[in-house]
């Protein structure tokens, strides 16, 4: 009460004596500021702006922390599945090899990406690699087409490669990933797209902090025949007798399709794991940044608050001393 009375007194006299408090140097009376203005000349420095910023930054920090937890739990769920599925394509690779350097006329690049964002740079790296493969395999008589899984790659590739996109598939992760779903997908792709070699681009999950962009190559049966005849890595294929079916070609066709669906299944799972892991680390660094920002804002807030208290004190004291003197 007394303080308020003194303050009022000080207010009356402050403009006569020393209207410029020492700390309020940021603005001059001529230039309008966003600080609160009391009766003529007296300035209250507002902490409202800083307080609002602090509140919003704190909320953002809470949200990103929660997102990190969610991503961690989702990662745990998918990780076991992905590790189990690794055993699937290994026998195929042991038999048929993975030849990324094979030279074919019709390439199809299957880019696997996520639907949701906020997962770091994994989608951009997948797209960069897909474009790199496209450039690598361009030449006379050669054509490369894209098959896109996931919204993020679609957004990036539609911009400049629209005419080369054959198929776009999104909302893959609406239902938990299962082999049946992926085999239907693989079927669609094989039916609608002509290919000599399929190159699947995805992010392989090595650990929670490391995701390596990888390319798996699946060859069509004709190319397999061609490569095995010319010797080299697939040369031993001929030594295998093929049982059943009417012709060797038919069995090889089934084999290639099965291989494709197995490799796709693994690729989709690994990419899902990588997505969750990348999101975890992105959200983690985001919360840390928010924390740093909050610290800086708190310091500014305290400084502002103390400055306004000092201003008031000076006004009161100068008013009081004016009264006495």
């Amino acid at each position: 009460m007394a303080m308020a009375a003194l303050r009022r007194e000080g207010r009356r006299f402050a403009p006569l004596i020393s209207p410029r408090p020492i700390t309020a140097v940021r603005s001059s009376p001529i230039v309008p500021t966003h600080e609160d203005e009391g009766p003529i000349g007296v300035r209250y420095i507002s902490t409202q702006v800083v307080r609002n910023r602090m509140k919003s930054v704190k909320n953002i920090q809470k949200i990103t922390k929660a997102m990190k937890m969610v991503a961690a739990s989702k990662l745990r769920a998918v990780q076991t599945k992905a590790e189990n599925s690794r055993g699937l394509w290994q026998p195929f690779t042991a038999l048929l090899g993975d030849l990324p350097s094979v030279d074919v006329k019709k390439n199809v690049v299957v880019t696997i990406s996520s639907d949701k964002g906020l997962c770091g740079g994994i989608n951009s790296t997948s797209v960069k690699i897909s474009k790199g493969i496209y450039k690598l395999n361009s030449g006379p008589e050669k054509e490369t087409k894209y098959v896109i899984l996931g919204e993020k790659a679609k957004a990036q590739l539609v911009r400049d490669s629209k005419k080369d996109i054959e198929l776009i598939i999104t909302e893959l992760q609406k239902n938990p990933l299962s082999y049946t779903q992926v085999s239907v997908l693989a079927d669609e792709i094989l039916k609608n797209v002509e290919y000599d070699a399929l190159r699947i681009v995805f992010n392989k999950f090595h650990s929670v902090v490391s995701f390596v962009p990888t390319v798996s190559t699946v060859l069509s049966p004709e190319i397999v025949e061609r490569e095995s005849e010319s010797g080299g890595k697939l040369g031993e294929l001929d030594s295998y007798e093929v049982e059943g079916g009417e012709t060797k070609g038919e069995i090889l066709q089934n084999l290639a399709e099965f291989q494709f669906s197995c490799v796709m299944f693994n690729a989709v799972l690994e990419n899902a794991c990588s997505e969750q892991g990348a999101r975890m680390s992105a959200m983690d660094s985001s919360s840390r940044n928010a924390g740093d920002m909050l610290d800086r804002l708190t310091l500014t807030y305290n400084r502002t608050r103390q400055a306004s208290i000092t201003t008031e004190l000076i006004e009161i004291i100068s008013g009081a001393s004016a009264l006495e003197g």
Partner: protein
């Protein structure tokens, strides 16, 4: 399912569903190939065979374990290693015959 056949046969099983990778040495495997039941012993010639849904039996010494497998492939390599890859492999003792019959009837009805 992967089966590695090594003298004696070694097998490793791998399925799509569970990704069970089991690798062990066995004496003989009988696979339900499309051309009929095929017995695989160590020293079998290198083969790629497709198989239709059926019963896979693994003979290990005097024990026999039977699995029901959906379709898949078996690669028999020259060094007596065999890889069996299927979509599903269920040990026979986990299958309930009555339930299967009932479901079969249900699905046939739904199809027609």
């Amino acid at each position: 399912m992967f089966l590695f056949l090594q003298p004696p046969l070694t097998r490793s099983h791998r399925t799509v569903r569970r990704g069970i990778v089991r690798r062990y040495e066995v004496d003989m495997v009988i696979v339900p190939a499309t051309t009929g039941q095929m017995g695989v012993l160590p020293g079998h010639v290198a083969t790629i065979a497709e198989f239709k849904p059926g019963v896979l039996s693994v003979h290990e010494g005097s024990e026999t374990t039977k699995y029901f497998v959906s379709s898949g492939f078996v690669f028999i390599h020259a060094n007596s290693f065999a890889d069996i890859i299927t979509v599903k492999a269920v040990p026979l003792d986990r299958i309930n015959a009555n339930l299967v019959q009932k479901r079969l009837v249900d699905f046939t009805q739904k199809l027609s």
